[in-house]
């Protein structure tokens, strides 16, 4: 069996494909999981995947603007986590459940 053809340095497209895979896994977690905290963590995974794309394109374009965008994404994610977890606390206080299927007052 010949050795696998691993290049000396990884091409940039590998980073972008890894980013796509992580994003899709985040979407899958968002769709298939029933725990509200895990759904929230899947959103964080999607944000991370997009950050990887930003940093990759920043490398390609030889500018650090992408780093600043991903820094802003991190700040927004932190704010979102604070507010979202407060909402989760309130939901749990009112309904004693973390299953998103049971929080369906707005349905129909």
């Amino acid at each position: 069996m010949p050795p696998l053809p691993i290049p000396e340095a990884a091409p940039l497209s590998w980073y972008l494909i890894l980013s796509a895979i992580l994003f899709v896994l985040g979407v899958a977690g968002f769709l298939f999981r029933r725990n509200i905290i895990t759904v929230f963590m899947s959103i964080e995974l999607m944000l991370n995947a997009v950050n990887l794309s930003f940093v990759s394109f920043s490398y390609k374009l030889k500018q650090n603007d992408g780093h600043i965008f991903s820094f802003f994404v991190m700040v927004v994610a932190a704010a979102e986590a604070a507010v979202g977890l407060a909402i989760i606390l309130t939901v749990f206080k009112n309904r004693q459940t973390l299953e998103i299927d049971e929080v369906s007052s707005l349905k129909n």
């Binding site: 091409p11 650090n64 603007d65 991903s70 309130t90």
Partner: protein, 166 residues
């Protein structure tokens, strides 16, 4: 060497992400997410983003995940119940997601012009000095707006999580 490092940490990230989706206990998912974030920080370093790698470790793997684990512990979240899966999600979602990966991979690999290799150390603008110059010269207004956003988030979190005053 760069390629081996990339493959190693990309594999760790993907395995941890799959584990996040498959585990049924929130704590396992949270620890998997920490693994994803740590390996992504290494990939940022490979891409020359020293500042953003440290910010990833401190803000994401540090602050945000501590908040998540704190809430999981506080609410004593247990294993999630096996409920009736939505058929739409199962039978349409998985093929669509695979198709998304396929399309993105095709576009990135075959349609876009060849992107060249990522050589560690060839990108020199990711240090805090250059980031700071760009942030406070060209992106000053978004930076200030961000501070307002954080203030709103603080107030919102306090209002949502406080005890009701009778």
């Amino acid at each position: 060497m760069d390629a081996i490092l990339f493959l190693l940490f990309a594999a760790i990230a993907v395995v941890c992400a799959i584990n996040l989706v498959l585990q049924s206990h929130p704590i396992s998912s949270a620890l998997s997410l920490v693994g994803v974030m740590g390996s992504l920080a290494v990939l940022y370093l490979l891409l020359g983003g020293e500042f953003i790698a440290m910010a990833q470790l401190i803000v994401y793997a540090g602050a945000i995940m501590v908040l998540f684990i704190f809430v999981i512990m506080l609410l004593n979240a247990g294993t999630e119940l096996k409920t009736k899966r939505h058929l739409w999600g199962m039978y349409a979602g998985v093929p669509l997601l695979l198709a998304l990966v396929g399309v993105v991979g095709y576009i990135v690999h075959d349609v876009l012009p060849a992107s060249g290799a990522v050589v560690f150390g060839s990108f020199q603008h990711g240090n805090p000095e250059d980031i700071g110059k760009n942030l406070f010269v060209n992106y000053l207004l978004p930076f200030e707006v961000t501070s307002v956003l954080i203030l709103v988030a603080i107030v919102g979190a306090i209002v949502l999580a406080r005890k009701e005053v009778d």
